[in-house]
Every structure is written in structure tokens, then in C-alpha cells.
Amino acid sequence: MTVQTPFTGGTVGVPVAKLDNAEKAEGKALYIADLYLPGMLHGAILPSPVPHARIRGYKLDAALAATGVVAIVTGDDVGEGRMGAFIKDEHAIAKGKVLYVGEPVAAVAAKTEAQARAACRLIEVDYEELPAILTPEEGLAEGAAILHENVEDYFKVFDAGSVGNLATRTVLEEGDVARAWDGCDIVVEGEYTTQAQAHVAMEPCGALADVDAAGRVTLWSANQSVFRVQANVSESLSLPMSKLRCLTPRVGGGFGNKMEPHIQPITVALAMKAKKPVKLILTREEDFEMVRARHPYKIRMKTGAMNDGTLVARECEVLLDCGAFADDSPGVLGYSLLMCGGPYRIPHLKAHGKLVYTNKLRFGAYRGFGNPQVSFAGEQQIDEIAARAGLDPIAMRRHNMLRDGDSWFVGPKIASNGLPECLDAIEKAVVGKRVDGTPRNLGIAATAHISGLLGTGAIVRMLEDGSISLNTGATDIGQGSDTVLAQICAERLKVPLDMISVASPDTDGSPYNWGTTASRVTYTTGRAVKAAAGKVVDQALEYAAQMLECDIEDVELRDGGRIGRVGSNTDLSFGIISARAHWLEGGPIVGTETLVFDQPTHDPKRAVALGLPFPRIGIFSFAALAVDVDVDDTTGETRVLEAWSAADVGRAINPRLVEVQLEGGFVQGMGYALYEEMVWDGPKLANPSLMDYKISTSRDVPDKLHSIIVEDPEPTGPYGAKGAGEIGLNVVPAAIANAVYGATGFRHRHLPLTSERVLNGILSQEGEV
């Protein structure tokens, strides 16, 4: 290969354009719905019309006789296997019972999608209805109908303590909260509720499965991890992982919705039964009703401080609606408890909560992963204390923030913390007035988020011609991880970005990667990429020394894919070195690295933890957010006029992509704060469509949205990098609520802050409600 682009001194820190831009700009990117195989059938799903029932039987004759129908799958076609990230409680398709309205009960494969859908309507299912549990409180009530009768027997990956409808409970405590209240001058307390939010990735979920003559399955799907797809299909259909090859085309957004299974197991079951490839693409309505959503929370929080604003104690109790299956919920519960103290020194902190099965769709991972809910409570209480202590909101946060050498709640020391700079940055940025000369009405909030979690790997290969292949198994869901990981690889190899190609995740050829989730890919996978690329460099240096007949100390890596003799102009290209290695001596140059994030979540010498779902988690990014909010006191309509989002991401490998993460996170968080809400009419979701569930349009977003990148390098991170994917969303509801308080004098404890709710707040202040 001829290298066209000269190396210009590094790609890390450069806002290079995303590698997939051209194909997306030209409409050539292929997503799951765009894949076709010869002889392919189309699948459709029959959803449950009832929230809780035993399945007595199915009548399939009419559907089987319908035009174009090839196969039907029901719970009778799948074995006893159950899948689940934390608690293995979920069959591939409803078996024996249905647990929510919209749950897949049967699936049809037919020659066209229309035929498959028509045939679904001909299936009769005999249900014995059971009482529906629609809230966590109902689920915990004595004598409540039980969703999972055998919950205690399910396999669990942690000490879940499941009993009845209680899926799990977690308790974390540091210090002695019960005794701390007496020493507090200021105590604030409140109960908060947050609503279910739909992910609304623009691409609905889908899958395409094919089974070869030997029974091996190839499965393409919209996902955030081909390895989680492989694990979930393997568990639910009792297939060995080695019989499943999982791949991913381009993915049209995730936000958590595509991390764990959706309809991949059903699609595989259909393809196995039909003995033909089957593609199943959900409609938008099905995606709303069938997949997963952000947990509704009930939060009781109490915070105590000294008169000068110094935080002393906090207790946080949460009650999570789990939905019908545990999915990622135990992780969300545990993580929200871990984050409920915020980025502050609170010597006495207790966090505890319960996760309760209900007859609703599963709630699960969603950008922020439980952090936005507890931050909505916590960051408002910080403001309440600030007001009583006579501190402005930024000074209050600066006074209490975690400092160098401090530890995270229950856990280990934090190595890099750019929160002071984030607070400085927004304080400086918000100075001044609005364009029209009126004063700003600001709301402030601060947050942190993890970057390090679970297993990952990288394979870097120097091809015969010296160009580079990078394979990590990390799915790029649009956020640009392929580009960022290629930048890290290019930097380590000192080659231009266009010498590197990034392989698409494939369980046959990619190293394990837990997933594109938890803001972890840049940090966790980036570490593996840098190390694997380093091994390629080491190997190439060794071969070059042999070729130049000198000691390895006398050769050096030079820009542009060359290795030279120190102190001379003599050098060799990667192409020459790699060709010799492939054809003559040494063997092909391959660098591999695998790792699992190993920093313990919990330090048992300092803190108590029960039912902790993640034993190893860490590396914190920090952020501060300011919003200027206008409230119409006649209508209650609340608009964000301007926002400043400052985030410490360690090192921005690609600053433009970090900015877009902060902005996209802000707008998704603004929708969550102001108008997005999944509403149930009894057991049935009342607004499962984009007509009825509104997300922000271009007209709803503030004209001025400022992303401020702060870089406090993380010593263990690749070139100092930490995560950036979720931190821009976490405290948007809290900051907006703080600003609405400033505008109206009413403290909102329930999301979303709809016009109606804000207006009622204003009226109650005026004594009219």
C-alpha cells in the first residue's frame, strides 16, 4: 500500500471525521433491515393482549394454513433455557405464562412481512388470566400474585436475595448515618418520582438468522454487543455458544435499548424451525411495547449538612419498577445507589433499594443507568442546602466536591478528577445576561460517571503490505467508537488513520467485548487497543533490528509506518518488515491484548455492601452543567434558552465526538426532564408511537448549547482518556428543576416537568391550588 496521507504528528486529540461518514452521507450504510439473504422469510410477532396469565394452549391451524406461512414458533418450541444478565429469568418467548402486555407469545415466518403479520392475527391463545401487578408496591403486598414462582431457583450472577416479587435488594453504607443526623444543622428531605422514558433509537430493533446444514446459526442483529447476543441466544435456546456466530451491521442508535436481547432468540428459533433465513424487524409500536425502557423510580432522600454547607450525611432509598424480567435492572439499582451521593464528600452515606417485578415490559439499561434518577433528587437537595447555608450553587458544590486522593462511595481512590475545572468553566461561562438584556435564570448541577467495567480485547494485525487491521468486537452504534479506537491505534503505531481498517464485530473473529455500554469503550477497550498496538510495534522493532543487523535498542519507530536505525536515515517500511515476517522469517505480526477491569467496587474495610451487582467498577468522569431556563408563568411552559455542559473526559481522543455526545445527551435529557413519558392505561402502554410519545425536534432545542471539554488525564486510561457517553445526560433534569425553582419558587419532585405540572407549581405558590 502506498501511504498517501503524511503523518501529521498524532491523531489523538484531533477532531477527525468519523470513518463511517461517507457511507452514511450517501445513504449506503446497511442496517439490519437492509440485509437480505436468498430465500429469506419475514417474521412477525403476536404480542400478548393481557398482562399476566397462564397459557393453556395455542390454536395454530388457521395461521399455518394462511398464505405464505412457513413456520410458527411458540413457547412449546423452546426448551427450559432462560437468559438474563444478572438473574436468568427469561425464556426466548413466553412459555407457560405471559407477564406483560406486548410480550411475544408466538412468532410467524412467512414469505412476506404482510403475510406474517396477517397470520399472527389468526393465532388463538387460550389464556387463564391472573391478577396483574402494576406497581412495585402492589408486588410487595402480602398475598400479591407472583410473576416468577420459581425465582429462588433461577441462576443469578450475584447475591440477589430474590423472594416473591422482590427481584433483588441492595444496601451500601459508609460511616454511620443513623447517628450522624444529630450533628447536622441543616436537614432536607423529600420524596421524588421519575417516569419511564423510551429510548427511541431511530432504528427499531431487528434481527436476521440463518442456519446452515450442520445446524450452526449465523445471526445478524441491531445490537450493542454481539457477545451479549451470543450469550442470550445460547442461554435461552440451550445452544452451545460455538454454534452461534453473531454479527452486526450498522446500528441506528442504541442508548441501552440494544444492549441485552430483544427478538434475536425468537428470530433464531424461527429460522431453525423454518429451515430458511428469517428476518424480523419490529415496528415502532412493537419497539416501544416489547423491548425495554428507563426505570420509573420512587426515591426517598434525606441530606444533612453543617451551617456552613459542609455535607455530613445522606440516606437514599429507592424503589424500582423492574418490569417482567430482571434484564439489566439489578445493575441499574446497584449503580444508582453507588452514584446517589454525587461527586461529593459525604462521610456518612447510606443507600438502599429494592427492585420489584411487575407486569410491564422489562426496564433496563438506558443512558445514565440509574444516575439521572438519583441525581434528580440529590442535586436538588444540594441546592436546598446551599440556599439555607447562604452559598451560591456553584460555591456549595465546590465546597463539598471530591478532591484528589478521595475515594468514591464504598470504593477505591479516584485517580483523576476534573470537577474543580468543570465548575470553574461553567462559572466563567454563565457570566453576563441574555441577548435581550434580561438576567439569566440559572440551574446548576454536577455529576460523575464510570468508564471502567468488565472484559474486553483487541487484535491488531499488520497485514502483508504493512497496513493495519484493528478488531475489537466493540459495536459502533453511531457514536464513533470505530474512529476513536482507530485513533488510539494510529497514535500508538505512529501511522496515519487511513492505514487502519476497523473490523466489524463478529463472534467468530473478534476478541470478547462485553458491550458498547456504561461509557466504557474508549477507556476499557481503548486500553486493550493501545496495548495490542504496542505489541505490534515491539514485534516490528525486533524484525527490523534483524533486517538492519543491529541491536533492538538501535531501532526506533518513526512516523508514517517506518522503523529506522537510530542516528541514521536508514529505515524500513512496515510493508517490507511485514512481508518478510509473512513469507520468510518470524511469522505474521499480530498483537493481542485482553483485560477485564479489575478495580474493586467495594472496599470491605471501609464500607458495607449487600447485593452488589458489580464487584469491579470504576474510573470516574466528572461534569458540571448550567442551564438558563425560561418559564412562562401563564402556561407553565418551560424552555431551556442556553446550556453549558462541562465534562472532564480525561483526554478527548476526538473532541468533536465528545461534544456531540454531550449535546446529544443534553437533548435526550431535556426531553426526559420536560416532556417524555411512557404512560400506561392500566396494564397497556397508552402512547407507544412517535405520534403520542414526543421526542425533541430541531425546534425544541436551545439555540446555544455549549460543550466545554475538561481534560484531567486518567493515569490508567489510553492517552489519559475516560468515558463521555452518558455524563452529558445525568443531571439535565436536576439542573432544569433547580432553574424552575429559581423561576417559580416551587420545588418539583416529580418528572417530567410538563407545562401542567409547572403551572400547578406556580399556582400553588400563589395559593390557587
Binding site: 477532531p15 471525521a17 468519523k18 463511517d20 461518514n21 461517507a22 457511507e23 452514511k24 452521507a25 450517501e26 445513504g27 449506503k28 450504510a29 446497511l30 442496517y31 433491515a33 437492509d34 412476506t112 429510548h199 427511541v200 433509537a201 431511530m202 432504528e203 427499531p204 450498522r250 446500528v251 441506528g252 442508535g253 442508548f255 424487524i281 415496528t283 415502532r284 452504534i477 453511531g478 457514536q479 464513533g480 468533536r656 465526538l657 461534544e659 456531540v660 449535546e663 446529544g664 445527551g665 443534553f666 437533548v667 435526550q668 408511537s689 412517535l690 405520534m691 421526542i695 425533541s696 425536534t697 430541531s698 425546534r699 432545542v701 439555540d703 448549547l705
Partner: protein, 158 residues
Amino acid sequence: MTRKTLLTLTLNGEDTDVATQGTVTLLETLREDMGVLSVKRGCNQGVCGSCTVVIDGAPVRSCLTLSAMCEGRDLRTIEGYEADRTMKCLQKHLIESGGIQCGFCTSGVLLSAQTYLTENASPNRAEVKSALSGNLCRCTGYRTIVDAVCDAAEELAQ
């Protein structure tokens, strides 16, 4: 099922025949019968704009358009703008601004923007935001997309 009929239209400048039925949408015909996959099914309800196509110069939601109504019409998708100066400029600015993330909405956004700039060559920011309000994007937060269209308009005006 209604009887199949033969539909004749111009797709990206080429005269094309395709069989259709009365209830089939243009989105289905394009994707399933004509292999035009840049047109996406995001909601199938006329809200998200991912299925936007251009019929006789106007942006239209193909999920709400029956194929049978397209007889003799001039139909364009993103593939039909390879030589279009406005589209080239929009694509360049969208790439530069970071306005392409997952890409699922991108074709629709570009078609709405191209037809809008053809109508209004020097729009202000509020007009651009309004013109794009029928194309939902969940990734970017829109700032980068609006910037790209404004920057493209400015460059094209020079």
C-alpha cells in the same frame, strides 16, 4: 389483496416500471421491490422523517404515500443527487460538523435540507430549524445538523 398493477415512474432520473398493489406504500415498494435501501422505516406513521423522498421536487414521507399515486411522477432518493451541487455541499458540511452519528436519519435530513435550500437559498437559523423539524434525530441534539445546513447555505451563496 388488490390486483397488481404496473407502475411507471422516474426514479433518480431513470424511467422505471414496478408492480404494485393498491395498499402498498411507496416506502415498501422502494425497499422491497426496487432495492432502494437508503429510505428507512423509522415509525411508518409519518412522524420521524427517516423515509423522506422527493417527489416532483417536494419532500414527501414515503411511508404515508401509496405507490399507486406515484404513476408518472419524478421520484428522487439520496442516490439521485450524486451530481447535485447543493447536496454535495450539504453532505460535506454535515460530515464536518459532526452531524452524522448513527446515520439512520441522515438521508431524510439531507433530502429535507436540499429541497429547502432550493426553495430558500439564504435562510436564517430559525427557518432551518423549522424546515428540519420533521426529521427526528435522537443522537446529535440537532445543533450540528442545523449548523451544517446554515454553513452550506452560506457557502452556496458565495
